[in-house]
Subunit: 310 residues, 2 copies
């Protein structure tokens, strides 16, 4: 027996789209692998995030690209744009890396009135934007049940949840979610101190924090940062913090200098087929397809467009 | 307004056990914070893992402690003991770090018949141990529903799931789960190439892989390893792999040299109270307790016993 590449084979199989496990029932579309779905996607299945909603977080190791969510957190997003334009984060740091939870960044001295960096033209306080009216929000529901919320799915390209009983909707704390740190008071955030989920989705934070966006590229630059000491993962030693060169709004960068990035739309038949390919893995590695997927197990594909410009 | 430590406050609040948000209904026990539950725990609420089921994975950066699960994967565990006793992993490496998924370690040349390290006295092939008969297994169920399995909870201290319809039980791929890599065939694992879950719980692997144990201390030494290049996270460049000094069975270490570690039992009233404290966060930071927790959001506490020996 040749020993194969073990778990690696699982992913190779998924990515290389081998034979299907079984023929589909007559009259139904053939189940497809994830790679088959993506290979068959049309240009219209992809979208380019608005540069006015796109942040570049530049570390020494590279660039993290973030998409902001003004439909969920308009006041926070506006303040974040103002902070970025004022250069607030340039020279600040990632000062916390809490294993299986979050990284947090901004002004490590924000709590010290004598050292805190001024916010410039940005507001010093914002209302809580934990959730919003579900009306007027196009919500693309998942077929599977969720333990944390009555209904989950995607809205404006972001993982989200909805409660039909009270008519509210909110963004979910999945891997890569960007949230606004706050104190004990609900309205004590200003968008200057931000966190990104790097561990098992802490959905208990849903409806308790203002989620303001999502990392769409470069998560590995945040998720692999050495964990800080102690239970909260905060680096008390400034030398261990990760410097932030700059956070820039893409709209403030000349077009030729912007990242070229497309994200799979979440409101299309292609996306539904993609989700189905994650619910039931259709390659020879999986012996028992799950018939289920959790909201936060659905990574939203992104790509660099191949249009001859690159 | 003094700006507080933002999200940090959430955890400080959780850990420092502030006032409850509200009085409990008459006739019910007062809800407690996680810290209050742990502070009130009895010696009998904690267990010491069997040294015959405990592995020390030594990296240059420190030690990872693993508990093996012979009740779920007896053949794999026996082979892993044999491999450890034979020094199989000494001088091997962590050769894969796949963002939001797994790290994998063992012999990076396992797939190359001309370079593969011999397994010594260990078996070269094992049966699949994806699941077992649920009878005879003490299963401590969680109150909350799960999307992936009919029932979830803990068995022998490990996150697990059960299906009453077919009478089967299996270990769940939660953060820290240790599994045996394999090829496309279900019975192609031998326990030499192992993976540890470092990302959002990939429960789609449940009942598809032999889960053989769980990391009980030192996850941050694995989870923060730089991600490998490419979609599978494998380091093709040997210089980027993380060397493994040794993997040793604790039973083979003189008692005085063993790690002193206790794990919270999962079959006690204290554990139920701990779970409840995670289902509904009872501190002033949380404005809306979730009333739910997912199996893989329940970190099992461990501690160094304070018995005067230390």
């Amino acid at each position: 027996m040749t020993r194969s590449s073990l778990l690696t084979a699982a992913l190779a199989a998924t990515l290389l789209a081998p034979a299907l496990a079984a023929d589909p029932p007559a009259g139904t579309a053939a189940p497809r692998t994830t790679q088959e779905v993506l290979d068959a996607s049309a240009t219209s299945d992809w979208r380019t995030p608005d540069p006015a909603d796109t942040l570049y977080l530049d570390l020494e190791a590279g660039r993290v690209v973030i998409e902001l969510a003004p439909a969920f957190a308009p006041d926070h997003v506006e303040n974040i744009r103002t902070l970025a334009r004022g250069g607030f984060w340039n020279g600040t740091s990632v000062y916390r890396s809490h294993d299986n939870f979050v990284v947090q960044f901004g002004d490590a001295d924000a709590d010290d009135g004598t050292k805190a960096k001024p916010l410039g033209r940005a507001k010093t306080a914002l209302p809580a934007e934990f959730e919003r009216d579900a009306r007027g929000l196009a919500f693309h529901a998942l077929p599977d049940r969720d333990g944390w919320a009555p209904e989950v799915g995607f809205a404006n390209g972001f993982p989200a949840a909805r409660d039909g009983a009270d008519g509210r909707a909110w963004m979910a704390h999945c891997y890569g979610a960007l949230g606004a740190g706050r104190g004990n008071e609900a309205d004590s955030s200003n968008g200057a101190e931000l966190y990104v989920v790097t561990g098992q989705s802490p959905r208990q934070l849903d409806r308790n924090m203002s989620v303001v966006g999502r990392v769409i590229r470069g998560m590995e630059l945040l998720s692999a940062l050495p964990r800080g000491p102690g239970p909260l993962g905060v680096y008390d030693d400034p030398a261990r913090r990760t410097p932030i060169r700059a956070i820039t709004l893409a709209a403030d960068v000349p077009e030729a200098g912007r990242e070229r990035i497309e994200v799979l739309r979440t409101d299309t038949d292609t996306f539904d087929a993609y989700v189905e390919s994650r619910r039931n893995r259709r390659d020879t590695f999986y012996k028992r397809p799950a018939g289920h997927v959790d909201l936060c197990n659905i990574a939203i594909p992104e790509r660099t467009p191949q249009d001859g410009r690159g």
